[in-house]
Amino acid sequence: MKSLMLVIVLLFSVSCAQVRSVSQTSIPTKRGTLVKAEVKNNIFFFFNFNTTYLNELSAQLSSKCEKGSVEGILTKDVVVTYFPIIFYQEQISAEGFCVN
Protein backbone atom coordinates (compact mmCIF):
# COMPACT_ATOMS: atom_id res chain seq x y z
CA MET A 1 0.00 0.00 0.00
CA LYS A 2 2.85 2.34 0.90
CA SER A 3 4.63 1.68 -2.38
CA LEU A 4 1.41 2.40 -4.29
CA MET A 5 1.06 5.72 -2.46
CA LEU A 6 4.69 6.53 -3.28
CA VAL A 7 4.09 5.83 -6.99
CA ILE A 8 0.98 8.06 -6.97
CA VAL A 9 2.84 10.89 -5.21
CA LEU A 10 5.74 10.56 -7.67
CA LEU A 11 3.37 10.65 -10.65
CA PHE A 12 1.75 13.83 -9.40
CA SER A 13 5.07 15.50 -8.58
CA VAL A 14 6.41 15.36 -12.12
CA SER A 15 6.30 18.70 -13.93
CA CYS A 16 6.31 18.81 -17.71
CA ALA A 17 6.72 21.75 -20.07
CA GLN A 18 4.93 21.81 -23.40
CA VAL A 19 5.58 24.44 -26.08
CA ARG A 20 2.27 25.33 -27.71
CA SER A 21 3.50 27.89 -30.20
CA VAL A 22 6.53 29.96 -31.14
CA SER A 23 6.67 32.92 -33.51
CA GLN A 24 9.43 35.29 -34.56
CA THR A 25 9.21 38.60 -36.40
CA SER A 26 12.06 39.81 -38.62
CA ILE A 27 15.22 40.68 -36.68
CA PRO A 28 16.63 44.22 -37.22
CA THR A 29 20.19 44.76 -38.45
CA LYS A 30 20.86 47.31 -35.70
CA ARG A 31 20.05 45.39 -32.56
CA GLY A 32 19.52 47.41 -29.43
CA THR A 33 19.00 46.23 -25.92
CA LEU A 34 16.97 43.11 -25.30
CA VAL A 35 13.62 43.71 -23.62
CA LYS A 36 11.40 40.98 -22.26
CA ALA A 37 7.80 40.67 -21.12
CA GLU A 38 6.06 37.69 -19.59
CA VAL A 39 2.57 36.88 -18.38
CA LYS A 40 1.53 33.83 -16.37
CA ASN A 41 -1.84 32.28 -15.75
CA ASN A 42 -2.49 29.63 -13.09
CA ILE A 43 -5.14 27.07 -13.90
CA PHE A 44 -6.70 24.66 -11.42
CA PHE A 45 -8.66 21.62 -12.62
CA PHE A 46 -8.71 22.98 -16.22
CA PHE A 47 -10.97 25.87 -15.21
CA ASN A 48 -10.02 29.05 -17.01
CA PHE A 49 -12.53 31.69 -17.93
CA ASN A 50 -10.65 34.52 -19.62
CA THR A 51 -7.59 35.29 -21.68
CA THR A 52 -7.32 39.01 -20.98
CA TYR A 53 -3.97 38.54 -19.28
CA LEU A 54 -2.46 38.28 -22.78
CA ASN A 55 -3.22 41.95 -23.45
CA GLU A 56 -0.49 42.94 -20.99
CA LEU A 57 2.27 41.55 -23.20
CA SER A 58 2.59 44.38 -25.71
CA ALA A 59 1.97 47.00 -23.00
CA GLN A 60 4.83 45.55 -20.92
CA LEU A 61 7.15 45.52 -23.93
CA SER A 62 6.38 49.09 -25.00
CA SER A 63 6.83 50.35 -21.43
CA LYS A 64 10.38 48.94 -21.45
CA CYS A 65 11.20 50.76 -24.69
CA GLU A 66 9.37 54.07 -24.51
CA LYS A 67 11.54 56.08 -26.90
CA GLY A 68 12.10 53.47 -29.55
CA SER A 69 10.53 50.54 -31.30
CA VAL A 70 10.61 46.87 -30.34
CA GLU A 71 11.61 44.66 -33.25
CA GLY A 72 12.57 41.02 -33.79
CA ILE A 73 10.05 39.79 -31.27
CA LEU A 74 10.12 36.13 -30.26
CA THR A 75 6.82 35.03 -28.74
CA LYS A 76 6.78 31.76 -26.84
CA ASP A 77 3.69 30.06 -25.48
CA VAL A 78 4.51 27.36 -22.93
CA VAL A 79 2.33 25.26 -20.65
CA VAL A 80 3.96 23.83 -17.52
CA THR A 81 2.10 21.05 -15.76
CA TYR A 82 3.05 20.93 -12.10
CA PHE A 83 0.44 18.48 -10.85
CA PRO A 84 -1.38 16.62 -13.65
CA ILE A 85 -5.10 17.47 -13.81
CA ILE A 86 -4.87 19.54 -10.59
CA PHE A 87 -2.65 22.49 -11.47
CA TYR A 88 -0.88 23.85 -14.52
CA GLN A 89 0.45 27.22 -15.59
CA GLU A 90 0.43 29.00 -18.93
CA GLN A 91 3.57 31.09 -19.47
CA ILE A 92 3.58 33.42 -22.46
CA SER A 93 6.74 35.40 -23.01
CA ALA A 94 7.78 37.93 -25.66
CA GLU A 95 11.27 39.29 -26.09
CA GLY A 96 12.68 41.65 -28.69
CA PHE A 97 15.27 44.31 -29.43
CA CYS A 98 14.66 47.90 -28.46
CA VAL A 99 15.80 49.99 -31.42
CA ASN A 100 16.13 53.75 -30.94
Binding site: S23, N48, N55, E71
Partner: protein, 147 residues
Amino acid sequence: MKNLFLLLFVSSCAYVHHTQVGEIKSHPDYESIPFEVLVSETGFNIQEAGKIGAAVISDKNAGDNLKAVAAIISLFQMGPRTGEPVWSSDTYADKVFVGLYEKCPSGQITGLTSIREMNKYPVVSGEIVKITGFCLKKKTTPVRKQL
Protein backbone atom coordinates in the same frame (compact mmCIF):
# COMPACT_ATOMS: atom_id res chain seq x y z
CA MET B 1 -23.39 7.49 -13.32
CA LYS B 2 -24.97 9.21 -16.34
CA ASN B 3 -25.43 12.41 -14.36
CA LEU B 4 -21.78 12.40 -13.32
CA PHE B 5 -20.75 11.88 -16.93
CA LEU B 6 -22.91 14.81 -18.07
CA LEU B 7 -21.59 17.03 -15.27
CA LEU B 8 -18.05 16.49 -16.49
CA PHE B 9 -19.03 17.87 -19.88
CA VAL B 10 -21.16 20.74 -18.60
CA SER B 11 -18.28 23.08 -17.91
CA SER B 12 -17.12 26.02 -19.98
CA CYS B 13 -13.52 27.07 -20.28
CA ALA B 14 -11.29 29.39 -22.27
CA TYR B 15 -8.34 27.87 -24.11
CA VAL B 16 -5.47 29.69 -25.80
CA HIS B 17 -4.04 27.97 -28.88
CA HIS B 18 -1.62 30.53 -30.26
CA THR B 19 -0.27 33.96 -29.38
CA GLN B 20 1.92 36.26 -31.44
CA VAL B 21 3.18 39.74 -30.66
CA GLY B 22 4.09 42.00 -33.58
CA GLU B 23 6.55 44.87 -33.74
CA ILE B 24 5.88 47.85 -31.53
CA LYS B 25 6.69 51.32 -32.79
CA SER B 26 6.41 54.58 -30.93
CA HIS B 27 6.79 58.16 -32.07
CA PRO B 28 6.77 61.30 -29.92
CA ASP B 29 4.40 63.07 -32.34
CA TYR B 30 1.85 60.26 -32.32
CA GLU B 31 -0.39 58.87 -29.63
CA SER B 32 -1.29 55.17 -29.42
CA ILE B 33 -4.98 54.38 -29.25
CA PRO B 34 -5.74 50.77 -28.26
CA PHE B 35 -8.25 48.71 -30.25
CA GLU B 36 -9.53 45.15 -30.42
CA VAL B 37 -10.90 43.13 -33.33
CA LEU B 38 -12.69 39.87 -32.61
CA VAL B 39 -14.15 37.34 -35.03
CA SER B 40 -15.66 34.02 -34.06
CA GLU B 41 -17.49 31.01 -35.39
CA THR B 42 -19.24 28.10 -33.70
CA GLY B 43 -17.30 24.86 -33.56
CA PHE B 44 -18.80 21.43 -33.05
CA ASN B 45 -17.29 18.39 -31.34
CA ILE B 46 -18.93 15.39 -32.96
CA GLN B 47 -17.27 12.85 -30.64
CA GLU B 48 -18.48 14.66 -27.53
CA ALA B 49 -21.98 14.84 -28.99
CA GLY B 50 -21.82 11.08 -29.63
CA LYS B 51 -20.71 10.32 -26.06
CA ILE B 52 -23.38 12.52 -24.51
CA GLY B 53 -26.00 11.07 -26.84
CA ALA B 54 -24.96 7.53 -25.89
CA ALA B 55 -25.17 8.41 -22.19
CA VAL B 56 -28.64 9.92 -22.57
CA ILE B 57 -30.14 7.15 -24.72
CA SER B 58 -31.32 4.27 -22.56
CA ASP B 59 -31.00 1.64 -25.31
CA LYS B 60 -27.38 0.41 -25.17
CA ASN B 61 -27.27 -0.73 -28.82
CA ALA B 62 -28.57 2.62 -30.06
CA GLY B 63 -25.99 4.42 -27.89
CA ASP B 64 -23.16 2.28 -29.28
CA ASN B 65 -24.35 2.97 -32.83
CA LEU B 66 -24.35 6.70 -32.14
CA LYS B 67 -20.77 6.53 -30.86
CA ALA B 68 -19.76 4.54 -33.95
CA VAL B 69 -21.29 7.16 -36.27
CA ALA B 70 -19.46 9.93 -34.37
CA ALA B 71 -16.19 8.02 -34.72
CA ILE B 72 -16.69 7.58 -38.49
CA ILE B 73 -17.45 11.29 -39.01
CA SER B 74 -14.43 12.31 -36.95
CA LEU B 75 -12.22 10.21 -39.25
CA PHE B 76 -12.92 12.71 -42.01
CA GLN B 77 -11.63 15.57 -39.88
CA MET B 78 -7.94 15.02 -40.38
CA GLY B 79 -4.81 17.15 -40.26
CA PRO B 80 -3.33 19.58 -37.77
CA ARG B 81 -5.84 22.01 -36.39
CA THR B 82 -6.60 24.20 -33.41
CA GLY B 83 -9.93 23.92 -31.65
CA GLU B 84 -12.98 22.25 -33.12
CA PRO B 85 -14.05 22.20 -36.76
CA VAL B 86 -16.60 24.79 -37.87
CA TRP B 87 -19.38 23.74 -40.20
CA SER B 88 -20.52 26.97 -41.81
CA SER B 89 -17.41 28.54 -43.30
CA ASP B 90 -13.67 28.38 -42.76
CA THR B 91 -13.19 31.93 -44.04
CA TYR B 92 -14.54 33.66 -40.94
CA ALA B 93 -11.00 34.66 -39.92
CA ASP B 94 -10.69 36.70 -43.13
CA LYS B 95 -13.00 39.29 -41.58
CA VAL B 96 -10.08 40.37 -39.40
CA PHE B 97 -8.73 42.53 -42.24
CA VAL B 98 -12.00 44.42 -42.53
CA GLY B 99 -12.16 44.83 -38.76
CA LEU B 100 -8.63 46.25 -38.62
CA TYR B 101 -9.40 48.76 -41.35
CA GLU B 102 -12.57 49.86 -39.57
CA LYS B 103 -10.77 50.33 -36.25
CA CYS B 104 -7.80 52.14 -37.75
CA PRO B 105 -8.57 53.68 -41.15
CA SER B 106 -5.19 55.47 -41.27
CA GLY B 107 -3.45 52.09 -41.42
CA GLN B 108 -0.77 53.19 -38.95
CA ILE B 109 -1.05 50.18 -36.70
CA THR B 110 1.51 48.98 -34.17
CA GLY B 111 1.84 46.43 -31.38
CA LEU B 112 -0.45 43.88 -32.97
CA THR B 113 -1.09 40.85 -30.78
CA SER B 114 -2.92 38.03 -32.50
CA ILE B 115 -4.58 35.44 -30.28
CA ARG B 116 -6.27 32.24 -31.39
CA GLU B 117 -8.53 31.07 -28.60
CA MET B 118 -11.51 28.88 -27.94
CA ASN B 119 -14.42 29.13 -25.53
CA LYS B 120 -15.40 25.56 -24.85
CA TYR B 121 -18.92 24.53 -23.93
CA PRO B 122 -20.54 21.09 -23.97
CA VAL B 123 -20.51 19.85 -27.60
CA VAL B 124 -20.17 23.35 -29.12
CA SER B 125 -17.35 25.85 -28.86
CA GLY B 126 -16.64 29.44 -29.78
CA GLU B 127 -13.67 29.48 -32.15
CA ILE B 128 -12.21 32.95 -31.77
CA VAL B 129 -9.52 34.99 -33.49
CA LYS B 130 -8.70 38.11 -31.52
CA ILE B 131 -6.39 40.91 -32.62
CA THR B 132 -5.41 43.71 -30.27
CA GLY B 133 -3.16 46.59 -31.17
CA PHE B 134 -2.61 50.31 -31.22
CA CYS B 135 -3.65 52.80 -33.85
CA LEU B 136 -1.17 55.67 -34.15
CA LYS B 137 -2.84 59.05 -34.33
CA LYS B 138 -1.01 62.34 -34.75
CA LYS B 139 -1.12 64.45 -31.63
CA THR B 140 -3.17 67.57 -32.04
CA THR B 141 -1.39 70.72 -30.87
CA PRO B 142 -3.58 73.30 -29.13
CA VAL B 143 -4.30 76.30 -31.36
CA ARG B 144 -3.14 79.61 -29.94
CA LYS B 145 -5.77 82.26 -29.68
CA GLN B 146 -5.04 85.34 -31.71
CA LEU B 147 -4.90 88.41 -29.54
